[in-house]
């Protein structure tokens, strides 16, 4: 089992930092402090942070903040970022309107 999946590990208490107010996820406006707090709440993976805070779940789908969030988790857990899985990749890869995805307005070619 990867050490990062070890939920019993003690990563210490959340200690606020001077730059906690900085935005990490630009779309959903999630701050560094919120993400760090979430990690101390037990969210040890990028996917968990996404679901817990919506960081990386906005319009751009984590294109900009994906690596930043991963690095934040790695630092709090004191692991190297390579050991963490990135967020799940799933369709659609780009922002698309549901009516387009459902082919509502167009007949098949």
């Amino acid at each position: 089992m990867k050490s990062i999946n070890d939920r019993s590990q003690d990563i210490g208490p959340f200690v606020s930092q001077t730059d906690d107010a900085i935005i990490i996820c630009r779309c959903e406006e999630i701050t560094k402090g919120e993400i760090r707090q979430a990690i101390h709440d037990g969210m040890f993976t990028v996917n968990e942070i996404r679901r817990y805070l919506r960081a990386g779940m906005g319009l751009c789908q984590g294109q900009t903040c994906g690596k930043l969030v991963k690095n934040l988790i790695a630092r709090e857990l004191n692991v190297i970022p390579d050991q963490l899985d990135p967020a799940t990749s799933r369709s659609p890869m780009r922002p698309m309107e549901m009516k387009v995805l459902g082919n509502e307005e167009v007949s098949h070619v």
Partner: protein, 106 residues
């Protein structure tokens, strides 16, 4: 001026027809086919939207349709990536406020 009139390597930029569009109700000019964001940048406009939670200004960031920071309301449709959406004559562009149009005092 923000437009490059002549470039030492590229010469003159090929442009489409000069057209009129509307930015928050005001008439503006740009070249048809260039990204909306480019036409706005040429006019010196920096703020494309204000964010939903903190009401902070945002503008062009990646310019290739990836970051979605430059989204605006275009012809009534919100969340349009202006950096990759070509300008069309008569387009109505509005500053986005959260997901709706910013109220503009005219």
């Amino acid at each position: 001026m923000n437009r490059i009139s002549e470039h030492p390597i590229l010469g003159e930029t090929e442009k489409g027809q000069l057209v009129t569009f509307f930015m928050d109700g005001k008439s503006m000019e740009g070249y048809a086919g260039e990204p909306i964001a480019v036409a706005l940048k040429a006019a010196g406009l920096m703020v494309h939207r204000y964010t939903h939670k903190a009401h902070e200004p945002r503008g062009i960031f990646c310019a290739i349709g990836r970051c979605t920071d430059c989204v605006m309301i275009v012809d009534g449709v919100p969340n349009i990536r202006t950096c990759i959406t070509p300008l069309v004559a008569g387009m109505r562009i509005q500053t986005q406020d959260g997901v709706t149009a910013l109220e503009v005092n005219e």
